[in-house]
């Protein structure tokens, strides 16, 4: 126990180490480290900011990933996804819609952060996606600028379909809050703020929800170790040396 917590005082490598020792022996056989394989939705942003056809770079991005891991059979790749409503969105927002794909039968679209709330409103008002299933974020520290994915999962009761709207933002950037579109977003945005440190503009009460208010750090970021914690908070509030 003590050396584990000691290892964690240097955050970035410690997180990786504790990740690695879980499956250390198996990892030897697979030399490619996590996050290095090109991500299907990371590509279009970097490569084709103006190209209206994101499908080609997306499938191209998946090919080297397969080549790097030869023993695995070819996995499914994201297929281009299109419908009337998407056409309309594309007409209005142009390259703001960066990608629209289907992966394993699940549709998603990647939109620019500046228009994401307009797209969400359009989905609710015009397409009847009246239920925000989930709102979450994913951290990609290896990406150059846009470190975070924010994912909105929408559902339409009338159509019985789901769609994921994703947007990518940089660390420190502010997203407009979706609380006015779906009140559900209130606690979900607070959770994202709590875990990732992403701020939402226009949120009625943006504060931590699961962790204590005075906690330092954002645990679901990749540079936050699995055993890491806010020692100062633990010591001053719990009166113990370490929570481990």
């Amino acid at each position: 126990m003590p050396d584990e917590s000691k290892a964690n005082s240097t955050p970035p490598p410690a997180g990786k180490q504790s990740n690695a020792n879980v499956a250390a022996e198996v990892k030897v056989s697979s030399p490619n480290p996590p996050q290095s394989s090109p991500n299907p939705e990371a590509k279009p942003v970097a490569a084709a900011p103006a190209a209206p056809k994101p499908a080609a770079p997306a499938s191209a991005a998946a090919v080297p990933a397969k080549a790097a891991v030869p023993p695995k059979p070819a996995g499914p790749t994201p297929q281009p996804w299109d419908n009337e409503f998407l056409q309309r969105l594309k007409k209005v927002y142009g390259s703001g819609i960066r990608e629209a794909s289907t992966y394993l039968g699940q549709n998603y679209l990647v939109a620019d952060q500046s228009i994401v709330n307009e797209i969400l409103s359009a989905y609710r008002d015009d397409e009847g996606f009246d239920y925000l299933v989930d709102l979450t974020a994913v951290h990609y520290p290896k990406r150059e600028k846009l470190e975070f994915d924010v994912v909105y999962i929408l559902y339409s009761f009338a159509k019985n379909t789901r769609v994921r709207v994703k947007t990518q933002i940089a660390d420190g950037a502010v997203l407009p809050s979706a609380v006015d579109i779906w009140p559900t977003a209130n606690w979900l945005e607070r959770e994202i703020f709590d875990m990732f440190g992403i701020r939402f503009e226009g949120h009625p009460d943006l504060k931590r929800i699961l962790l204590p208010d005075g906690w330092q750090g954002y645990p679901l970021r990749k540079d936050y170790g699995i055993l890491q914690q806010d020692q100062a908070w633990v010591q001053s509030n719990l009166g113990i040396e370490s929570g481990q």
Binding site: P34, A65, K72, P76, V133, D134, H139, R164, T184
Partner: protein, 389 residues
């Protein structure tokens, strides 16, 4: 007169420590009351800060996170197989359902389908779990409102379900009953007969619960018209499960997007009309009967065959992300998994029904009495292990 002096003294004593104080209808000051985190009717460690005008609730704020264990973070540092037992510890009164959702989500990600026999075993066990979960809900909910007998009845009967779980997989609560790709164990000898006997045993018991409560004047007075949440509010707040159905929305993921063997099952989706606490009680009672109906069909038509699909020993899903959800006893339980092609999930997001349903508490209790807050927390059927994860 005396009352006024007391309040005045109070103000002298506390000063502005309670923040902004406004005069209310009763010509008294607003009172801020902490309910929990150690309170018998908050079902765990939930703290609700109530703003009161006498006994009337002006507003609430939930303080959660006391049981936060970082399940999502743990998910990122375990392999897909290793993470499976952790999900049982979220909604610990419905562990089988949690495991079902997780296993199916990973199966979607690696594009594997569990064999038919496994699908039926899954349906039987998760419906038994739904009954057990509803029994815990009913017992504790009734206890909160002041009826003690249902607690003993429901826990007595739930025991029989737990015995079946124990015989099937060795555990009663955190079962880890399913594996990615199917089930670890086939049914034991006499499983079908025993489950059928259990169904016959259960049916009259549900009648007993109803006898105690359905027309009980105290129960009806305490639940009818309390904590109303209509269908549109439910959708806007993302509330699912029996709470949504009690508001008249006929929506159940088992029917809307069938998984496991549910597409082959014949069952009804009970709904309510008023969306109040009484309707939610009736919906759950009816669901108990529907669960029995599903179990009986599944036991009768369970096919023979393998219980495990071909799944690689070392799971390395291709790069990609999926969302999969099931109808857990409390509502939509979803898993959003991002794979980067390595052994561990890159991101393991869990969409817990309790967390999102709890958000509706404020809307449901505004303008009601303090005693109704207890009833509404009970009727939402939250499990704090799942709220906080």
């Amino acid at each position: 007169m005396k009352h006024e002096t007391m309040l005045a003294n109070d103000r002298d004593f506390y000063g502005d420590e309670w923040g902004e104080r406004t005069s209310t209808v009763l010509d008294a000051d607003e009172l801020v009351l902490n309910m929990g985190p150690q309170h018998p009717s908050t079902h765990g460690v939930l703290r609700v800060i109530l703003k009161l005008d006498g006994e009337k609730v002006l507003g609430t704020e939930c303080v959660i996170g006391y049981l936060h264990r970082g399940v999502e973070k743990i998910g990122e540092s375990r392999t897909y197989t290793m993470f499976a037992p952790y999900v049982d510890r979220m909604d610990y009164v419905a562990a089988v359902s949690n495991g079902l959702g997780y296993c199916q989500a990973v199966e979607t990600l690696i594009n594997v389908e569990a064999p038919a026999r496994a699908q039926y075993i899954r349906v039987i066990l998760s419906e038994l779990q739904r009954i057990a979960s509803h029994q815990v809900w009913l017992g504790t909910h009734a206890l909160d409102i002041g009826a003690m007998t249902p607690l003993f009845y429901t826990f007595r009967d739930r025991e029989e379900i737990l015995k079946v779980f124990e015989k099937y997989c060795g555990a009663r609560l955190t079962t880890h009953a399913f594996r990615i790709g199917g089930c670890q164990y086939d049914t034991y000898d006499g499983f079908e007969k025993e489950v059928k006997k259990l169904c016959d045993f259960m049916e009259p018991k549900f009648g007993e619960y109803e006898e105690l409560l359905t027309t009980n004047r105290i129960w009806v007075e305490r639940t009818k018209g309390v904590g109303i949440l209509n269908g549109d509010d439910c959708k806007a707040l993302g509330v699912t499960g029996p709470v949504l159905r009690a508001a008249g929305v006929k929506w159940d993921l088992r029917r809307a997007q069938p998984y496991a063997a549910y597409s082959k099952m014949d069952f009804e989706i009970p709904t309510g009309e008023n969306g109040d606490t009484y309707d939610r009680y009736m919906v759950r009672i009816k669901e108990l009967h529907q669960s029995l109906r599903i179990i009986r069909q599944a036991v009768d038509s369970i096919p023979a065959g393998p219980i495990m699909a071909k799944v690689p020993k070392v799971l390395k899903p291709p790069v990609g992300e999926i969302y999969h959800s099931i109808e857990a006893p409390k509502g939509e339980l979803g898993y959003f998994i991002v794979s980067d092609g390595s052994l561990q999930p890159y991101r393991m997001r869990i969409r817990p029904p309790s967390f999102i349903n709890l958000q509706a508490l404020d809307k449901m209790v505004r303008g009601m009495l303090v005693a109704d807050v207890v009833a509404v927390i009970g009727t939402l059927d939250i499990v704090l292990g799942e709220v906080d994860r």
